[in-house]
Symmetry: C2
Subunit: 224 residues, 2 copies
DNA sequence: TAGATTGTTAATCGATTAACAATC
DNA sequence: TAGATTGTTAATCGATTAACAATC
């Protein structure tokens, strides 16, 4: 069977989920969310989960979830659901994210400290390997097992570690300067916790954390 | 002209953006993101913005943006773009979010402190009116102009202030207990900064912050 | 077996995109 | 005017949903 592009596919074609072997944007985003829920359910000792339960936690329709997963194989058991651990492995393989990924964290203030001491990134194989701050008072001090470095030390750290991602936990007025530093050092993905708009070259991807934006439309649906 | 539902609409119907006077989910989400970018651009003193520029910052297609906006009126000037301040007012009206909204913040640790001292919520009219922690050592101390209270004081605070939103900035192992507290007090929207999965009644909406999820699929598109 | 849930189809709806006349 | 950008159309693609046979 051919997909809409008219070419034979290396994987079973399903409603355009795959474009020439590459996942469609939406599918990849949803698979990541499934993985997050699976990881948390796994922590609590749960062993199987149904598409219905996954749907409740991800706000993705249960049929959509079954359809997304069945594009890659028959991972479920009828009448039972999906085994969590094997499914996590499958999704990690599909997303090419089974390994460890090193990240550089900018900002050793309250937010940076909160990030370093939490598991939000660690749970998905992300490890903070460098912590940077422009405040000379903080440079040299330690947070957890990390020593705070100057921003200018990023290139040196990147000689030892392959760093593709930088997380900016700095005040909005410092965000652009930090972004410039990490772009210059060759980082390709920036996660921006500040509300500032960042100017970056086209090949660099910026993801901005936007709690207020999510609350705005949640409120809209609450009030109407 | 009728929309796909076959009923006359109180607003100009545009490709199903409006469902019986209520915005479609996707439209409301995008309008919120436009508002965030407009607010930041406004801060830097910019007065007009083109759909192309908005597209770069929101990762929404420029045609989509023009189409979303033109469903509510002709806000732009051909050859120039959109005036930022009036457009913000229009979008706030569409989203019914022109006023101030009070939020309760749980967790007076590093993350809670970072939130209270930043503008991410304040920029969109959200004001933290109550700060709560279960750590008795912290209760009574002050962060900014706020005094840390016991979780059990939430109902009392809600007698003075209408609080629809709670933000949970607590460790994952405390998140469910905090969620139970806020649900019991009648809060309808929870923003969860922890990675924990929360069990809440059907009428309560949970939004979970998921930086790692966004990085997972950003990495996928970087590696493929 | 009986109950539950997957895998899959088909139909509909919303999002995306290119293109371009209108007009500032 | 010339250049730029909106407002709008039309065509395509992906997401959503209900429904249900297959099967654990």
């Amino acid at each position: 069977m051919n997909d809409a592009t008219g070419r034979d596919q290396p994987f079973p074609a399903q409603g355009g989920a795959l474009l020439g072997g590459k996942l469609a944007f939406g599918v990849a985003a949803r698979l990541s969310r499934y993985l997050q829920v699976l990881a948390q359910a796994h922590k609590t000792g749960t062993e199987t989960i149904s598409s219905q339960e996954l749907a409740e936690y991800t706000n993705v329709n249960a049929t959509q979830i079954r359809r997304d997963l069945s594009a890659f194989g028959k991972f479920g058991k009828r009448g039972v659901g999906y085994e969590i651990e094997p499914l996590m492995t499958e999704i990690r393989n599909i997303l090419c994210s089974s390994g460890q990924h090193s990240i550089a964290l900018f900002g050793a203030g309250n937010l940076g400290t909160a990030i370093v001491t939490s598991d939000v990134f660690a749970d998905h194989g992300f490890k903070v390997v460098g912590l940077f701050d422009i405040d000379q008072q903080k440079v040299g001090t330690g947070i957890g097992s990390l020593r705070v470095r100057q921003n200018s030390e990023l290139p040196a750290v990147m000689e030892d570690e392959e760093i593709v991602i930088a997380v900016l936990a700095v005040p909005p007025e410092e965000a652009q300067a930090a972004a410039d530093d990490v772009v210059r050092a060759g980082v390709k993905i920036i996660f921006n916790y500040s509300e500032a708009l960042l100017e970056v070259p086209r090949e660099v991807t910026v993801h901005t954390s936007n709690p207020a934006v999510e609350l705005l439309y949640a409120l809209y649906f609450y009030f109407t």
